[in-house]
């Protein structure tokens, strides 16, 4: 295994020739730029990066990179990534998801992935809507937002992913905005380098089903204080922020979960001794 890191990688090295199907104007184009820029900055060769995703517009991203990828089923990317990383700790594992794939059907796996704290980075492109299936509310959609499946709005309190991540044990929590692709790239680098489960929520406007999100670029702002490593402090800050605070909000100190794998202690032939009388 060649563990050399190539110096001076260009973002172009990480882009595949597959043309995205995202609508022009979609925030995910910026996210893709952030990915490729972050990977180049890290200098990890593309064949040593695995981008794992589920289903949704954001989940299309693996094929648009030149890395190994898995476009799996809806909501299960964190589980797939866990199996991969535990058996291949040498790979850089990035999981890409959206607010539906990640917080609705994937909600349970989200909690346990934070709890397990396996070393990987979870990037959720949150556009407060189900884009791929044409505009149903997602767990982060505002309660008054009118949709076909929820006329007049859901009336439901939106899911707060950063709080859930913190409570469940995520070791690094950040919020970004796709339009600030430079800051996002830097934060992705930090997230990937930070040990354990890193959670980066990227607000990424949906040009087709949430044209109102064009306003997001005027609503986002840097977080008023720097990141903390105190979960209680982080909890208070995250629970009271306006949802548009950008930056690294929490940097934890948990040891990543890395079970022993690959080192044989006994010969498999010894195992049958347990069956012998």
């Amino acid at each position: 295994m060649n563990l050399d890191v190539r110096p001076a990688c260009k973002p172009g090295d990480y882009k595949s020739d597959v043309k995205p199907i995202w609508c022009p104007g979609c925030g995910d184009y910026h996210v893709l730029l952030s990915f490729t820029r972050a990977f180049a900055q890290l200098g990890v060769p593309p064949e040593r990066i695995a981008v794992i995703s589920g289903i949704g517009c954001s989940s299309r991203i693996p094929a648009y990179t030149n890395c190994y990828g898995f476009h799996g089923v809806h909501g299960r990317s964190l589980a797939l990534a866990a199996g991969l990383k535990v058996t291949r700790p040498d790979l850089t594992v990035v999981v890409a998801s959206g607010d539906g794939d990640g917080y609705s059907i994937g909600g349970n796996h989200f909690i346990h992935a934070c709890r397990r704290n396996i070393d990987m980075t979870y990037v959720v492109m949150d556009n407060h809507i189900y884009g791929m299936t044409k505009g149903q509310p997602s767990p982060t959609t505002e309660p008054e937002f009118d949709t076909a499946l929820s006329p007049g709005g859901t009336g439901l309190r939106p899911f707060h992913p950063l709080v859930v991540a913190l409570a469940s044990g995520a070791n690094f929590i950040a919020r970004c905005f796709s339009g600030d692709f430079n800051q996002t790239a830097d934060i992705l680098v930090e997230a990937i380098e930070h040990p354990g489960f890193s959670f980066v929520e990227i607000l990424s406007p949906c040009v087709t089903f949430r044209p109102d999100e064009k306003e997001w670029k005027n609503m986002v702002h840097p977080a008023p204080v720097g990141p903390t490593d105190d979960p209680a402090k982080a909890a208070r800050r995250i629970m009271t922020d306006d949802g548009f605070n950008l930056g690294v909000l929490y940097r934890g100190k948990r040891q990543p979960y890395r079970p022993e794998f690959g080192a044989q202690v006994s010969d498999p032939a010894e195992l049958e001794k347990e069956f012998e009388l």
Binding site: A8, I21, Y29, H30, M132, G179, N182, Q183, T208, V220
Partner: protein, 175 residues
């Protein structure tokens, strides 16, 4: 507020040339990306517009390399890191639309050229180095020319009427 990357330092002529070159080179890549988007989304008129813009920026980039003479702008840009983020003429991706018209594309280009102009103007105003000042002033003229060019092109393409984005077909579900 979301903002673009902070302005990088210009401490030498090499810095200036490298940044100037990178502005154009980044613009080429960004217009190519937009051309690809337009091609995937069946807007052939805009494919041509963006490819033309990419070509134009490519010519600018070559001119800067030539002008730089012995300075290897590509290598210098790579070494110093250049623009950390979107450079001035990288068109704003969030402003794209699959039914956009040439007017929209040129508006994007105009914003870019004006940002580049502001950058070089800023160098002229703040630098203490005579050579840098002189060269920056040339770039100011160059960018001003580009701005005018875009304005001229805009005269050929009127602002589209309201409803330019009306698509009688509803969105598709692909998955």
């Amino acid at each position: 507020m979301s903002k673009r990357a902070a302005t990088p330092k210009v401490a030498s002529l090499a810095d200036l040339f490298a940044l100037a070159w990178q502005i154009e080179a980044d613009a080429v890549e960004r217009y190519k990306l937009l051309a690809d988007q337009m091609e995937t989304h069946n807007n052939p008129e805009l494919v041509k517009v963006f490819r033309d813009l990419a070509r134009a920026e490519g010519i600018h980039a070559e001119e800067i390399r030539r002008l730089a003479g012995d300075i290897d702008v590509v290598e210098h840009a790579r070494k110093t890191g250049g623009w950390k983020g979107e450079s001035p003429e990288e068109a704003d991706l969030s402003a794209a639309h699959y039914m956009m018209t040439p007017w929209h594309a040129l508006q994007m280009a105009l914003v870019g050229e004006k940002r580049a102009l502001a950058f070089f103007t800023g160098i002229v105003e703040t630098t203490k180095d005579a050579k840098i000042k002189q060269m920056a002033a040339e770039f100011v003229e160059e960018e001003a020319e580009h701005v005018n060019l875009v304005h001229r092109l805009l005269r050929k393409y009127p602002e589209p009427a309201e409803g330019w984005a009306d698509d009688p077909d509803p969105p598709n579900t692909v998955e």
